[in-house]
Amino acid sequence: MINKLLCSLVFVLLSFQAFAFDSVSWQKLNENLRLSLDLSVRGQYHFRTNQLSNINTIGIDMHKVFSGENGDIGTLIFQGYLTKLVNVKPFPAIYNRKDDLKFVCRICNFNLNILDKNLLNVRIGHYELPFGLEYNIDTNGTFRQFSNGRTLGGKLDWGVTANGKTTWGGYEISLSRGSGVDWTDNYSTYIVSGRVERSLSYDSFIGLSFYQGHLRAAKSDGYFDRTRIGLDASTPLGPFTFLTEFSVGKDDGKEIISALFEIDVHNPNEKLLAYFQLATLSHHLDHQDWDSMIQSFLGLKFTPDNHWTISAQWRQDLDVFDNSQRGSVMEAQLRYRF
């Protein structure tokens, strides 16, 4: 049902686009086009298992604004990355083995302007789910991550959103397939999610998010329902920024609480960023005690020019779920864009 609805929406949007584009003069394809090649090499060392691994990527990052005589029509973003794992154990769920090679479409969508003053736009394609801090801060291909991977099981999905900005803030409401990074042939899953943001000053905001999904279980053929409500906020103080996000919800009958706190600091030209994060995830079933994990992340990012980014992070498990072992990982990455 949901997927039929999505297909209908795609058809309507494409018809609308064809109508809209007919009335404007087409620009040359390279106008308003940004294109970049993105290379990165990442090394990881697991102290407990004495294991070295690395992840190498090469990708194309494209941003194209389509404009007509009366204004912008929409924006196309395409980020296609070829990723090579080398001895990555455990490997992320989207890969099939520890030395996998895979093409990943990170963010690939078209955002079509519908109403004047950008009060309503419609995004279609593969995008970051509107939930939590992740919405405002780009973390793809970087060590610095927020809670969505931990608490939602992923941060990307295929679908359609309505989004807009006003003088007080912005919003995005999404209906997506629930398939995550890959476009699978399983049409039984869906996610409805959204976030409303209030801008408080130049660098401060507060956001309220929700998430309702019917998803496939990772290690079985079954399905489960996932719900979350989240609150996030960011505010600066001198060179420091304080960020936090908190969410509660359920995975079927299991109650989940997730929280993250970050303090970061940068130098005046913002070439150097250091951050410290504390993240927790707790769950409990009826008649059982709460079980929690706590992780800390200490990271550095140095951007000497418009090409290079050098970053490093130390991840330390402070507490782990029952029957798990504490880990400690040191990671470093070299990234070059041109």
Binding site: S36, L37, I60, S67, G71, G141, T166, Y202, W308
Partner: protein, 205 residues
């Protein structure tokens, strides 16, 4: 022989590639939507024009004033044309300056002749930004061309509102803003010259 696909594809793409550098992933780009409509309240939409700000633009600023744009500011930038239906109202262009606690992103609004209409801060961590925004400082700049702003700075021919004159950080930021207005107008004039001419002609018809 086992084919090493990843390095082969990497080498092929590298050998064919020729483009400009951008340190930030493009999904992080955000149009200053809220500021465009604050600065031009009658605008109903805006049109983006992406151009390269290159060493020639940098040299153009250097030739005009004793300060210029930093090399990190070179690269592709967007000029926004604020539109009311099919009529161009003016330009919006955002530039960054290094402040006390991080980059200050200033969104400038110009009329079609590149005289200052208004400005707003997109990002700012300093208390003097609030002070400047809530004062009459903008009245000093409103309607001024690049030459008038240059003359103001060279002859120190301006009087800051009292609340700014008595605050050292605010005085420094006020000077930074005046320089930023000049640099932004000069860069816009140089890098988007053809589009500006075309919009002026269209508006006269």
């Amino acid at each position: 022989m086992k084919l090493k696909i990843f390095p082969v594809i990497t080498l092929i793409i590298l050998s064919l590639w020729g483009s400009h550098a951008h340190s930030v992933a493009f999904c992080a780009l955000r149009d200053p939507v809220q500021n465009i409509y604050k600065l031009f309240p009658n605008a109903t939409s805006y049109r983006s024009i992406v151009h390269e700000v290159n060493q020639s633009s940098q040299q153009h600023v250097k030739n005009s004033v004793p300060f210029s744009i930093h090399k990190d500011e070179l690269g592709q930038h967007t000029l926004y044309v604020a539109m009311q239906e099919n009529k161009a109202l003016g330009f919006v262009h955002s530039r960054s300056e290094v402040g006390l606690w991080g980059l200050i992103e200033i969104v400038w609004a110009f009329d079609l002749h590149l005289n200052v209409v208004n400005f707003n801060f997109q990002r700012c961590r300093e208390s003097s930004c609030d002070l400047i925004q809530s004062s009459d400082f903008v009245q000093l700049l409103k309607g001024k061309s690049v030459n008038e702003l240059k003359s103001m700075i060279e002859k120190e021919d301006y009087t800051l509102p009292d609340e700014l004159a008595n605050n050292e950080d605010a005085r420094t930021l006020a000077k930074t803003l005046m320089r930023s207005a000049i640099k932004t107008a000069l860069v816009t004039e140089h890098s988007w010259r053809d589009e500006i001419q075309s919009l002026l002609q269209n508006n006269q018809q």
